[in-house]
Amino acid sequence: MNRVIRPALLIAVKDLRQRMRDRSALIVAFVAPLGIATIISLALGNTGRFHATFAVADQDGGPLARAFVDDALGAPALRDVVTVREVPSADEARALTVDGKVSAALVIPAGFTESLRTGGAASIHVLRSADNPVSGELAVAIATQFPPALARLVDGSVGVRDVKPASYFGPSMAIFFLFFVVEFGAIGILAERRTGTLARLLAAPISREAVVVGKAISTFALGALSLGTMTVATTLLLGASWGDPTAVVALIASVVLAAMGITALTATFASSEQSAGAFSSIVSMGLAMLGGNFVPIAQAPEIMRTIALTTPNGLALRGFTDLVADGGGVESVLPYIAGILTFAVVTGTLAVARSRRLVVA
């Protein structure tokens, strides 16, 4: 044990000392995620939640048309989500939609009330914009459900849950950059091999496993430090909420382990630091896009929301937003943690098994 733990700790401390002196590493670990999260949060402001403005042209003027505007579009559930802008004509509604000044338009044709009273067919015309498909879908959903029910949101997670942009993009950017923070562990072994220090380590009276364990310890410490710093910084600077501290720590630990496993496994397929960095970047970007690190996944189509939950990024983000939106404790995010740890165990095991080809002089 003394041939593993003690040298592993020495290697970890040495690695951390090197990383703390590497300006680019500090930027990736702390400055970049906080900076980008800040920019996105400020840019979105209060509109970080889904919001749509509908132009409504009431050409009927009857009581049922009025009921649609006041009761369906103005339902309490939609109050913070939908803004109604009444316009005098269908042409104006169309023009506003084409110009992108409204999210979608609804035209209530003349005879709408009379037609419903006499039991005839009545329809509301929805004009959708290709630039704003989600709002268009929402307009269609509201229109097709009238009468008799009041409109409800298609996806409650879009509008009902109150998650501030900083509370979403704080963890989102932290997780995205985490992959670049932890990749140094596996790539560091390749770097040590290139410079000859790995040969010197292997010539020392320490076990080969000590090198891997040492790299793992320093990588975990730096990854956790990066996410932990983001937690504190976004809370203090951006007013982000993170939820139950124990649950946050558990989520951070699990997602750091998963990122370590994935980047380490990726590096075992590379022959140089450059190729390992390139592989890792491709995987990190792919997981970030699928997992919703760039766009709130709740606004994406159903299939993308499902796919997101097959990535550690998506699971972690869902866990963090659940903690804020629902106010639960660690038990509420256990399924997400279990999913993330599955990634960590599978990729980590494969990486360790393949590390024999990495840890050679």
Binding site: K14, T195, G196, T197, P205, A361
Partner: protein
């Protein structure tokens, strides 16, 4: 034979069908410098990588100070100070931080670590630069620190893998003097090089390695004697050197003649007596002679005699 520090017996390493090291056997005693001399790719680094436990062996045994690298590898490694061919240091750490890290890996700590760091820094003349980052060092200073790291834990066997590659003459001399002093203090030294002059100056015994095989071994005198009374004649020439080598090779008294980059290398009996005929043959050929030199027997000649090629080909 209890002063044997290194016993390498039948070392073998293969990569697929290629045999990199084939049955290499030698030993190093305390206070002795043993040189592994051979051209690039001969198997020198592979051999010492197996000796230091960096590379798994496909065959053979290694004992360091009587400790087997098979059964007691960690204990055996404690006796080795390994100086890799690369400058195996962390450039973003200072000299003293590098030394502390490597010293701690070898179990040093506290006052003893501090003493040893100071001692090796003084030995390599870097005592006044201990707080500076290695990245700010010159190439020669890095080379010296590279050796200092290997000496921290007071090893009994120092293994140096081509430590003078790419260094300036001043640093090379400093390295030579350090190795000679360490040998004098009783360390065993295993030194790989493809520079004949280094092997001749530093090493008490020399093993000549080529294509993975140890093809000769002994003191410089023994190796040269094995060549017999042959001389090496180097004819500098331009033009068709292959034809010149072929013409000279056919002369009576010539053991071998090989074209080189700058002329023809000839192994022959009584080179001085044969010289007029060699020049005459050269004049008859289409090559233009630029120089003629009769070289006293040396390791280069031994290598030429044993392998039919120059050491640096």
């Amino acid at each position: 034979m209890n002063d044997l520090l290194l016993e390498a017996q039948g070392l073998r390493k293969t990569y697929g069908d290629r045999v990199a090291v084939d049955g290499v056997t030698f030993h190093v005693r305390a206070g002795e410098a043993y040189g592994l001399l051979g051209p690039n790719g001969a198997g020198k680094t592979t051999t010492i990588s197996m000796i230091c436990g960096l590379l798994a062996r496909d065959g053979g045994d290694v004992h360091i100070g009587g400790r087997s690298m098979n059964g007691d590898a960690m204990s055996a490694k404690e006796l080795i100070g390994y100086v890799p061919q690369d400058i195996a240091l962390y450039p973003d750490l200072s000299a003293i931080e590098n030394l502390r890290f490597w010293g701690q890996l070898y179990g040093l700590g506290g006052k003893r670590l501090a003493e040893r760091c100071a001692a090796v820094l003084a030995l390599v003349g870097l005592g006044d630069r201990s707080r500076d980052k290695v990245s700010s060092f010159s190439g020669g200073m890095k080379r010296r620190l590279n050796i200092a790291v290997a000496l921290l834990h007071e090893p009994r066997l120092l293994v140096l893998d081509e430590p003078t590659v790419g260094v300036d003459p001043q640093t090379r001399n400093a390295i030579f003097e350090s190795v000679e002093a360490l040998k004098h203090d009783g360390l065993g030294v295993l030194y790989t090089t493809h520079y004949m002059e280094e092997a001749e100056r530093l090493c008490d015994r020399i093993g000549i390695i080529d294509q993975g095989k140890l093809i000769a071994e002994g003191t410089r005198r023994e190796l040269v004697r094995a060549v017999g009374d042959r001389d090496r004649v180097v004819i500098g020439a331009t033009g068709d050197r292959d034809a010149l080598a072929s013409t000279i090779g056919a002369l009576e008294g010539v053991t071998s003649a090989h074209p080189s980059e700058s002329g023809v290398e000839i192994l022959c009996r009584d080179g001085r007596a044969l010289l007029p005929r060699l020049v005459e043959a050269a004049v008859r050929s289409s090559a233009q002679i630029t120089s003629v030199e009769v070289v006293e027997p040396d390791l280069e000649m031994v290598f030429l005699h044993l392998t039919g090629k120059a050491l640096r080909e």
